[in-house]
Homo-oligomer: 379 residues x 2
């Protein structure tokens, strides 16, 4: 108590998280609505009923700025106390958008974290440069493909992986639907695929790294990582919005040698800006690579959103490694030059279904995709 | 393989999850869009590239019905293979809405689970009747209040709890922003509050149960439950959308003597129907009580949504206990008769800020709220 009061009496403010929201409301009510939002995401009670000086000075959310972006759409900057988050990622999400996610006039648009909090979250343990080194790709874009459909048994998935690897692909990930199902249990799948890839060690497919998808609760995932490590896996995929942010960060920290690809499943991007959620926050939580829906595929992200998201994932940040942007979702080999022109070399191109459509010619289709990426004239 | 093929060859279909989506699109394109949705939430690749008979028969999502609800708004029923979920709650969310959550023309509206899957998820370990018994309330509505604002130290929160308890309240929960912050660490808070409540044992406040909010990763929550149990706590609160469904179910199963209140933080109800998410699914995952925004408060749920949500939480379901609906979010004592007429006795009324506004008269305001609930003429 003593210390708390001194702090607010001296006027030394503790660090604040700056959260930017887009509010849809009329100009006359925006100030009141912005204040209500600041209260909702902090003390969540009438400010008039608070008599604690520390809470009033240091904990109540503060509206710092309101800017009209277009008629009836306002960008509101709210300063939230870092102490309410206390370095826990789940609590960060709770404080940024927990209750407000239930209100349909507001979108969480961007967040500026105090340097201490960003450093504490830590970001990727490996990131772009390590993912390049692992496959011997110094400057070109990385290539990836996907094992699917779910329902196939381990032997068939292993066969697909082997043929993709023979085509020279860098990373082969599980489709995000693959979990620990009876028709393809995690252990049997990982062992079959890794054995299939090892058999290629002396030939062309040596480079391919298999990226299994983790599922279940934290302990189930720990068991899966342990099985995968034993089988030689060095990269896994998780869906942070399904496993929970705190658990994501926990498993990242427990496995410093493992690289993590973040999948956007349940990222419900209509309410949290994709650039913020996938590009900035997933990276800060520890994603070495982040899959997101590329423009012109099966999802509605615009080119501007995709560019901003990729830039955010790669942006220079003190002490935080760059995260590999992985645009995906209905991509084809025909789009490779256009995508490389758009994203540059700091990207992993991921083509799944369009390669599998080649069926018996999967290896050849993969090789053509890989060749296109390798021969591209990177600036 | 042998068994799988036999299964599809005999035509005996494995159980399917029936997912109902609302699609916004024009009538000419709805059939194609519905098929694309069924593919997105199952095999996520061109069906023409699949040659496995089992996958085609048993795993590819099937469009079962399309009904126009209003111009350009269609209800689409899609049958998803239960085997893709395999009883894991996180994977259930992934298969119901993982990728489609990224598409802004679709809302997950309802789900019918096969009886085996519902039974495996299990529902509340305690539910309505146990939460009544704990406080000696046979037939009336339950009462609850909230400890806030965050930022207060344990001693001040304990003082609030004691005064609420003296007013005769049944349950006193942490505000959902309270975590394990420096100004009020979980352990110190729980111990101070439980000690304060114990000191009332011989007097009026005997009934009150304190419900602390858990935060952090699964292991952190385990530690918090263990501390809380040791201090005499029998009910805790969690936010399933922040901790992840698999971890929620895990912690419910590990703690059969603990009752769980589910908080809607990050439930982003604009994209998943609140009745489904909060009323049906949180209950199936193990919530003994579920907090949701009541109509006419700070959130935009309609009376119809609130009524449907409460009914769903209480609906008779084979082997699944009823979950207590907890309408909240800006409620006042003045609304008690209206809310009881609306919800009946199977409800917990939760008033937070409006009681705290009474400041020095908190106990009297609480007693008035409690008396209103106790003397109501329940049918």
């Amino acid at each position: 108590m003593q210390e708390r009061q001194t702090q607010s009496h001296t006027g030394i403010m503790a660090p604040r998280i700056k959260a930017l929201y887009l509010l849809r409301c009329d100009a006359r009510s925006v100030e009141g609505r912005a204040r209500a939002l600041a209260v909702e995401q902090s003390v969540e009670m009438p400010v008039t009923a608070i008599d604690d000086a520390f809470v009033l000075a240091e904990v109540v959310g503060q509206v710092e700025a309101i800017a009209e972006k277009e008629p009836s759409l306002f960008e509101v900057r709210i300063a939230l106390a870092q102490d309410t988050v206390d370095n826990d990622p789940g609590q960060l999400l709770n404080m940024l958008f927990g209750n407000s996610s239930l209100q349909d006039d507001v979108v969480l648009h961007d967040v500026e974290l105090p340097p201490g909090l960003a450093k504490s979250l830590g970001g990727p343990a490996h990131g772009l440069h390590a993912l390049r080194r692992r496959v011997g790709a110094c400057a070109r874009a990385l290539t990836g493909s996907v094992l699917k459909p779910q329902g196939l048994p381990p032997a068939k998935l292993a066969d697909l992986a082997r043929r993709l690897a023979l085509g020279g692909i860098d990373y082969i990930k599980d489709d995000h639907g693959l979990a620990d199902q009876v028709y393809s249990p995690f252990r049997a799948r990982v062992e079959a695929i890794m054995e299939g890839l090892r058999s290629l060690d002396a030939s062309n497919g040596r480079r391919a790294h298999y990226v299994p998808s983790l599922s279940g609760d934290l302990d189930a995932m720990r068991g899966q990582i342990s099985l995968a490590s034993a089988a030689g896996v060095d990269t896994v995929m998780v869906a942070p919005m399904i496993m929970g942010w705190s658990n994501f960060q926990r498993i990242v920290r427990e496995n410093p040698h493992m690289a993590f690809v973040a999948h956007p499943s349940m990222a419900g991007a209509a309410r949290i800006a994709p650039t913020l959620l996938l590009g900035k926050l997933f990276r800060l939580l520890g994603a070495d690579a982040v899959v997101f829906p590329n423009h012109g595929g099966r999802f509605g992200y615009s080119p501007d959103t995709c560019r901003a998201l990729a830039r955010e994932a790669l942006a220079k940040r003190d002490g935080i490694r760059p995260c590999v942007p992985v645009p995906a979702g209905g991509m084809t080999s025909a789009r490779v030059p256009e995508m490389l022109a758009f994203y540059g070399a700091d990207v992993m191109l991921l083509i799944g279904g369009a390669l599998l459509e080649a069926r018996a010619h999967l290896t050849e289709a993969t090789a053509a995709f890989v060749a296109e990426v390798h021969r591209y004239a990177y600036n």
